[in-house]
Amino acid sequence: MKGFILSFRSEFYKTRKTMGFWSAVLLPLLLCLLLFIGFFVKSEHLVNTPPMMLWLQFAGAILGIMGLLLLPMLIIFIAYSVNNIEHKNDTWKTLFSLPISKMSVYAAKYFYAFFLVFFCLALFVLFTLGFGNLLSVLKPGLKFNEYNIASLLTQLYFKFFLASLGILSIQFLLSLLFRDFLKPMGIGFVCTITGSILASNNWDYAYLFPYSHPMMAMRALQQAKHGSAGATVPQITVEMFTKDTWVSLAIAIIVFVAGYFIVLKRSVK
């Protein structure tokens, strides 16, 4: 356990000055800032929008592309950057000749990638809420402050996080095995497109394909939009653990274990 914590801290220490880490911070910051500017400029048109719809428009702009493109791309990139730092510097050999168990080194890397995705999604929640409330302060006409979306937003993003576990573990393993960017990127890209097609066509077995999961997680939001069309006080519930979530979790665990055995077997270059 000590080896794991030390390795995890070292992962942070190593990456804290790389694009891999900063992209997890800058991506939510820039997207939310852009949205903030857009709403700020167009605030007159939005004055009469009810608070909840306002929030749904604001958060929905990002959530809408999150499942389709943003989350899979983010995952591919993070999984790559966490492993690439060792490929690029030829440091696998030192990492595995440290007096720390191979399991700890491997697990620390794996969970660090998970942490980065989690961290990035958490920042999306934080910045969305922050900029939304800032808008209501700067433009009192926008009634962001009259509805509290924090809990719903947190649930939605957490759902996205759960949906990302399967892909992340697969992309992590691909990036661990392949030195170059094109292989994991290419495979990830093709699978993401396939996944989106499967999920958007409501294929019965899409839940078995991890790259469909972010798309399927978005349904919670679409549900929300449908619900709000008729009723005055729409009810939105996020069903956290659906079939696809369990598949995502199972894949993450299986790939983690399989990856460990590959690491054990594989000779370090």
């Binding site: 030829d90 007096p99 000779s267």
Partner: protein, 299 residues
């Protein structure tokens, strides 16, 4: 024995890279592990560090079996394999701090190491901007950081200038004599090793061709008496007539097998008395470099 392997064999696919290697590295030695490029040195080192899984044979380090005592053994080894593994986007100091974090070593040790390898001035510079020699020195600092009992260095002087090579050599000698470390150092250059090694192992095509102390290696080569005279060829003929075998003659010197100091004196007198002017006469060890080549080429 600090390192002791028995019948170590390793195959990549159907190519045997290491053939029943039995290394014996005594404590407190500088063991020069020599062989031409591609002889199996790096593979052996990777086996010693458990980066490659032992297929056949056994490895004992500090009298413990490697596979089952991996962590306790690795905690006493500092290593440098091929090019130093350095995070190029971090500064030299950060590279050391990162390792110190992993090994739970106090920060003060980092400054000490920077000083030792003369990188204090460049400590805050990105390692990516270091020269090859600086990277190599940082690699050595990383290997020494945990104050290990055994240092395993794979061609550590690669890319260093003569000054740097001398510095590394002196550092290693100091570590062994003053701090009772053991150094296992690989190289393809005998000249670089022979000035510091106490023991030598020569490997080629995965096979150990020679192993022993540097004196054993020297004993393999017949010492010669090198004589410089005013008339080299005549002197050689004259010695031949007097039943003294001449091993070699060239434009400047003639060589006679060395037997004893007295014998060397007699030759000197003999030549002098017969009108040859002797500019110099001395005992010479056969060039180890030639010996090394002979050993590795015969295999």
């Amino acid at each position: 024995m600090v390192i002791s392997t028995k019948d170590l064999t390793f195959t990549f696919g159907n190519q045997t890279v290491v053939k029943s290697l039995s290394l014996q590295v005594p404590e407190g030695s500088i063991y020069g592990f020599l062989g031409p490029n591609g002889a199996g040195k790096t593979t052996t080192i990777k086996l010693l560090l458990n980066l490659l899984k032992t297929q056949e044979g056994s490895i004992h380090i500090f009298d413990q079996e490697l596979q089952s005592n991996r962590i306790s053994i690795l905690s006493q080894i500092g290593s440098l394999i091929e090019q130093p593994a350095i995070y190029l986007h971090l500064s030299g100091r950060e590279n050391l701090l990162n390792r110190a974090l992993l090994l739970q070593i106090p920060e003060s040790r980092v400054e000490e190491m920077l000083k030792l390898v003369h990188l204090t001035d460049a400590a805050y510079k990105k390692a990516g901007q270091y020269s090859l020699g600086m990277k190599q020195r940082l690699g050595i600092a990383l290997a020494l950081l945990s104050d290990p009992k055994l240092l395993i260095l794979d061609e550590p002087t690669n890319g260093l200038d003569p000054n740097g090579i001398i510095e590394v050599r002196e550092l290693l000698i100091r570590l062994v004599t003053e701090h009772k470390k053991t150094v296992f150092i690989s190289s393809h250059l005998l000249a670089e090793i022979e000035r510091m090694a106490t023991h030598v192992g020569i490997i080629n095509h995965g096979e150990l061709l020679f192993q022993g102390s540097i004196k054993d290696l020297e004993a393999l080569s017949q010492p010669l008496v090198q004589i410089e005279t005013d008339r080299t060829v005549d002197a050689a003929n004259f010695l031949n007539k007097n039943n003294i075998t001449v091993a070699d003659v060239n434009d400047h010197h003639l060589y006679v097998p060395y037997t004893s100091k007295e014998n060397m004196g007699e030759i000197n007198t003999l030549l002098n008395q017969n009108g040859y002017t002797i500019y110099s006469i001395n005992k010479q060890q056969k060039d180890l470099e030639k010996l090394f080549l002979a050993i590795t080429q015969n295999a």
